[in-house]
């Protein structure tokens, strides 16, 4: 079915890209920029829907469709197609990206009205969607990396959209640089895979010469498996390669230890946070892990790492979210935490559960972010929850939809979050009781911080009267309603027992359906009850004390927890740690190296030595650099060393 109209698959990323080009080159006014951006993504969504239906109707005739537009790199040794892989995994991701993307574009028209640079905003947003679609549709690692870096770049540009704020610029650069560190890992992984298997494509396809096959490194018959399953080969290679991939994932999906950029990324406009830093880009890491699942299956070592990193991230994110005042930072840390859940699921081998949670989270977290955007909009760009309160009266639609999102995030039956989170917790319960404990605590914390947020933002009385809240325009509320409906019903895609998603993914990820028995039902009931209780208690606790909150007051639980609260507030001091442990030493090393290799440095160094030797500093003083003779001296050092080396080896 789909084969006959396969040309629509490259169109999916191409349309938003054309939107980007049009906005970049031709459009100069806000209205048409928004319309074009939304239209291209919208059409892309309709096409993904069509492709999805056709693909599903095609049934099991082909597990995947590989469409090569041209060969990106063809060196004989290394062949990388610019090709798109449409299978059950990427089709699902495409729907999420374009669907949520369309809604957020519509919302943005309202939200960004009156912005200083709307055309740029929509151009970048379009480019982002194009890159994200490239990422999920790529049929090889290199093309995936193109999307991977591309979304990073767009994220950089969009975080810095309001660059008049210095913090926005700093956050933008931080996001990109931290991401690049992760990307270095992925790049190295690619090189290793290429060196080991001679291929970067996921699955085998027709060779460009028309004869034979271009092997894919994920195929069970690939040389990779052969290498890794070599008798006596202790999985070292598989662990090394997958660990490098994991480094990339920690960067993009904000996992410990590279999670620090995501909270700061909230400097960007709120729809950006919803699309990029909640629903799509940050899930790219999880997507990548799912994509290379056959590799992960070869290395229990890396899976253990994944498991523990995910668990640690889940708890860090959840605790930090509890201690934020900024409405968006709560959601940002919550995203970190939920990404941790997904990563844990991958580590447990519960790939379907990971994707399930990725999808539902994409919907309800986008909802929450957009809702927070509506709140911020109404509150005159105020983000501090201490200065909100009582907004449910002024913002009824926002309130109700936000409530749905919050309850879904807290894992309350029967919303989408309940089903997907419960599946992960059930897996953890079965496989690793410590991780189960961590996740269990994290999910209680989730209910706590959402209850706190709802209480602080929507209940009680308005504590700050410097603004007059009003409900957002239809352009913004309609997407909220649609997403809320999605949040309510999204659970059906993988209800226990039906396992629709599980079956759908079978061609890509051959995984047994999650068990569904009495113990699971009991566990589900227990978690949802505890979650609901935590949510309610937290809501009551903060609702009662909210009235006394002032702009600078401490959290009601601060007195009891003090330093711990501070620690949570600072995101476990990861930022400070990096500053002290990496940035500062790096800076000193950089200075040191610059000094050693730059003339003044040699001065300084020798100067220091001479000073300490005879204490006679007269005549030396502060010396200027740029001396030709010093360059010749450094040159001579090189000569002496290299000649010495060559003479030494010749014996």
């Amino acid at each position: 079915m789909l084969e006959s109209v396969s040309f629509i698959i490259p169109l999916l990323p191409l349309l938003p890209f054309l939107g980007f080009v049009a906005n970049l080159l031709f459009i100069r006014n806000e209205r048409s920029a928004g319309l074009i951006a939304t239209a291209t993504v919208g059409v892309s969504f309709i096409l993904s829907l069509v492709a999805f239906i056709l693909f599903a109707m095609g049934g099991g005739s082909r597990p995947y469709l590989d469409l090569v537009t041209w060969y990106w790199i063809n060196t004989g040794a290394l062949i990388v197609p610019f090709g798109f892989l449409y299978d059950s995994l990427s089709s699902t991701m495409t729907l999420l990206v374009t669907g949520v993307g369309t809604l957020i574009h519509i919302y943005s028209i309202g939200y960004m009205h009156g912005d200083k640079r709307p055309v740029r905003y929509f151009a970048y947003l379009n480019l982002f969607v194009a890159m994200m679609l490239t990422l999920v549709l790529a049929d090889n690692l290199l093309l995936l990396f193109l999307g991977w870096e591309g979304v990073g770049l767009c994220s950089f540009l969009l975080i810095g959209h309001w660059f008049e704020r210095k913090s926005a610029r700093a956050a933008a650069v931080k996001a990109f640089v931290v991401n690049r560190i992760g990307d270095a890992g992925l790049l190295l992984a690619m090189m290793a895979i290429f060196a080991l298997t001679g291929s970067l494509t996921f699955y085998s396809q027709t060779h460009p010469s028309g004869e034979g096959v271009l092997p894919g490194f994920l195929d069970s018959t690939s040389s990779f498996s052969a290498i890794f399953n070599f008798p006596g080969q202790p999985m070292v290679l598989a662990t090394a390669v997958t660990f490098l991939i994991l480094i990339g994932v920690t960067g993009k999906s904000a996992q410990f230890p590279l999670l620090v950029w995501l909270p700061d990324a909230m400097e960007g406009p709120t729809p950006v946070s919803a699309l990029i830093h909640a629903a799509t880009m940050v899930t790219a890491g999880v997507y990548l892990l799912l994509r290379v699942e056959p590799l992960l299956e070869m290395s229990s070592g890396t899976r253990a790492w994944i498991l523990w990193i995910g668990a640690l991230t889940a708890i860090i994110g959840a605790t930090a979210a509890l201690a934020q005042w900024d409405i968006k930072r709560v959601l940002a840390y919550s995203t970190v935490s939920q990404l941790g859940f997904m990563v844990v699921a991958v580590g447990l081998g519960a790939y379907t559960a990971a994707l399930f949670h990725l999808l539902t989270h994409g919907v309800f977290k986008a909802l929450l972010f957009l809702g927070s955007g509506s709140v911020i909009h109404a509150a005159g760009d105020e983000q501090d929850m201490r200065r909100m309160g009582g907004l449910r009266k002024a913002l009824p639609t926002t309130f109700w939809t936000y409530m749905v999102g919050a309850l879904a995030l807290a894992g309350i039956f029967p919303l989408a979050g309940f089903w997907s989170k419960d599946e992960i917790i059930a897996h953890a319960f079965e496989h690793n009781i410590i991780v189960f404990g961590v996740l269990f605590v994290a999910s209680i914390l989730t209910a706590l911080y959402m209850g706190r947020q709802i209480a602080l933002v929507f209940f009680g009385e308005q504590r700050d009267h410097s603004y007059h809240p009003h409900e957002s325009p239809k352009l913004m509320t309609v997407p909220l309603i649609i997403l809320a409906v999605g949040t309510i019903i999204a659970g059906v895609i993988n209800l226990p027992g039906s396992h629709f998603l599980n079956t759908w993914l079978q061609p890509v990820i051959a995984e047994e359906a999650a068990p569904f028995g009495t113990s699971e039902i009991v566990l589900a009931i227990v978690t949802t009850l505890i979650g609901a209780a935590a949510f309610y208690l937290s809501w009551r606790f903060y609702n009662e004390r909210a009235a006394r909150l002032r702009a600078n007051s401490n959290d009601p639980i601060y007195r009891g927890t003090g330093a711990i609260w501070e620690g949570f507030n600072e995101g476990w001091y990861l930022d400070g740690f990096y500053k002290a442990a990496i940035v500062q030493p790096f800076r000193s090393v950089a200075n040191f190296i610059a000094q050693v290799f730059d003339p003044r440095g040699i001065d300084g160094l020798v100067d220091g030595i001479v000073r300490s030797l005879n204490g006679a500093s007269n005549g030396i003083g502060r010396i200027q650099n740029g001396f030709l003779r010093t360059y010749a001296l450094v040159f001579l050092i090189g000569v002496v060393l290299i000649v010495g080396y060559f003479v030494a080896v010749n014996r």
Binding site: A77, G638, I642, V649, N650
Partner: protein
């Protein structure tokens, strides 16, 4: 009596055209082109470059040598020749405006560029150490002069003097190395096709670690030192930032790509054609130098607020990446080398061209400040510069990314995994200072109001370079096929 040698002019076609046209242009310029019309000389020089490029076409795909095997034409050198001609052409185009704007327009400028290009061409073709020496001088002496061209800017003279004195100093080491190698082997020919005496054939015979090879070893070390100086490997790099900053900007651009590419070609020939048997010996030391170069270049660039100096340090860093490709000694490495040189040529010349576009009458525009809000002032320039920076940083889908991936894969495949890792990591670090420029252009309000008007030639050139960097990053296959066919005639 003297037997005039058999000369195959197809081998030295480009060289001949450049030298003859350079001399002719000197005369034409002196007698027929009036002051203030020197732009015409530039156009004539461009025509000469075009002819030089065309004469290479008929012999493409063959490999032959002439002058007792002292110069070699193979796919490798022909590809490089085209790259150098392209670099020279871009240099001349960006000079057309630059020279009058800074009031340093003199007709000799263009012939000197042609002579330097001739030197690069010869350097890429030379398979003999004395020809290599003369080629290095033929590249360098015009560049010494051109570096000092920007009078009355005193820094220009300073740059010229530093470059000249250090260059002459380095030449001394080259000659001594050449003497020692001659003393050991009795020849300065890198390798020979016809089986006559050459360093490679000597090494085939010699017992490698026997004591009596010590002259050859020490001599090779000295040759490496000089070539390392020309390509700016650490610790022979510290002239680079000063000389690039002081020289006229088009010349800095030309040096950063042309001299570097030619000297790397010579290095590659020396290592792969003359000393293939010693790979186990030169590989480790050059690997260390490459690592140092990548680290020092990229870290040095971190703190530069002067964009021209930043580009100089970045060129040091890139020399490290290119060294990676050179020392693998494999075909994949050679191909990666050629691809990278082309990518770097387009990208770096483009970046320098943007700087030139921003310079006004007698003023420099090299600080980060000058780039603030460029997007609002000159969208075309800003987008082009962003593309160049992304390419230098190695972000896909630019040529720079493909080139880097190519090189690192070659290194990884060649067993230099740790070096590839250092390359990837330093390249990740480099994102910081390249990105800073992008942030400046797109995320700051303009601080400069009035603009230098861009000439059409510069605009077109920039747009073409930017599109090429992007497009050849997306569809690099034609280039890859070109370099795949650019076989280097190896020693055996």
């Amino acid at each position: 009596m003297i037997q005039p040698p058999q000369i195959d002019f197809s081998v030295i076609g480009a060289l001949t055209v450049l030298c003859v046209w350079g001399i002719a242009l000197l005369l034409i310029d002196a007698f027929f082109i009036a002051e203030g019309q020197k732009r015409v000389t530039g156009y004539l020089a461009l025509a000469g470059l075009a002819v030089a490029a065309l004469v290479g076409l008929p012999s493409w795909g063959q490999s032959s040598n002439t002058f007792s095997g002292m110069v070699q034409l193979d796919g490798f050198s022909q590809t490089l020749i085209w790259i150098f001609l392209l670099a020279a052409a871009i240099t001349i185009v960006i000079s057309l405006d630059y020279l009058p704007r800074h009031d340093i327009e003199k007709g000799e400028y263009y012939p000197l560029v042609l002579f330097a290009t001739a030197g690069m061409v010869l350097l890429a073709q030379s398979t003999n150490l004395i020809v290599m020496f003369l080629a290095i001088e033929l590249v360098s002496i015009p560049l010494y002069i051109l570096a000092g061209f920007a009078y009355p800017r005193v820094t220009s003279e300073e740059a010229a003097m530093k470059y000249l004195l250090l260059g002459a100093f380095a030449s001394g080491f080259f000659v001594y190395g050449l003497a020692l190698i001659y003393g050991q082997t009795g020849t300065v020919q890198l390798f020979s096709v016809d089986g006559s005496d050459s360093i490679a054939s000597y090494l085939d015979r010699a017992t490698l670690v026997a004591e009596n090879n010590v002259f050859l070893f020490a001599g090779s070390a000295l040759i490496l030192v000089t070539l390392g100086f020309k390509v700016a490997l650490v610790p022979f790099h510290n002239w680079t930032p000063d000389v690039y900053e002081g020289s006229p900007t088009p010349i800095a651009a030309f040096m950063s790509v042309g001299t570097k590419g030619a000297a790397f070609a010579a290095l590659l020939r020396f290592l792969v054609q003359a000393l293939p048997n010693l790979q186990a010996i030169w590989m480790p030391i050059l690997a260390i130098l490459a690592a140092l170069t990548m680290i020092v270049g990229n870290i040095g660039a971190l703190k530069q607020l002067n964009v021209k100096r930043m580009l100089a340090y970045s060129s040091v860093g890139h020399a490290g990446y290119i060294t990676l490709a050179v020392i693998t000694g494999t075909t994949l490495g050679t191909n990666a080398f050629l691809f990278y040189i082309l990518a770097y040529t387009l990208t770096n010349l483009g970046a320098f061209a943007v700087l030139i576009a921003l310079e006004k009458q007698g003023e420099s525009a090299w600080s980060l400040e000058d780039l603030s809000g460029l997007w609002q002032r000159q969208p075309l320039l800003a987008v082009a510069m962003a593309i160049f920076m992304l390419s230098l940083a190695g972000v896909p889908p630019t040529m720079g990314f493909v080139g880097k991936f190519y090189i690192f894969s070659a290194a990884w495949e060649g067993g230099l995994v740790w070096l590839a890792a250092i390359g990837v990591i330093t390249s990740a670090i480099s994102a910081f200072f390249y990105l800073r420029i992008i942030a400046r252009m797109f995320m700051y309000e303009p601080t400069r109001a009035e603009e230098a008007s861009l000439s059409r030639a510069l605009k077109v050139g920039l747009a073409v370079a930017a599109v090429a960097v992007l497009l050849l990053g997306l569809i690099p296959t034609p280039i890859i096929e070109l370099v795949n066919n650019s076989l280097l005639v190896a020693a055996r």
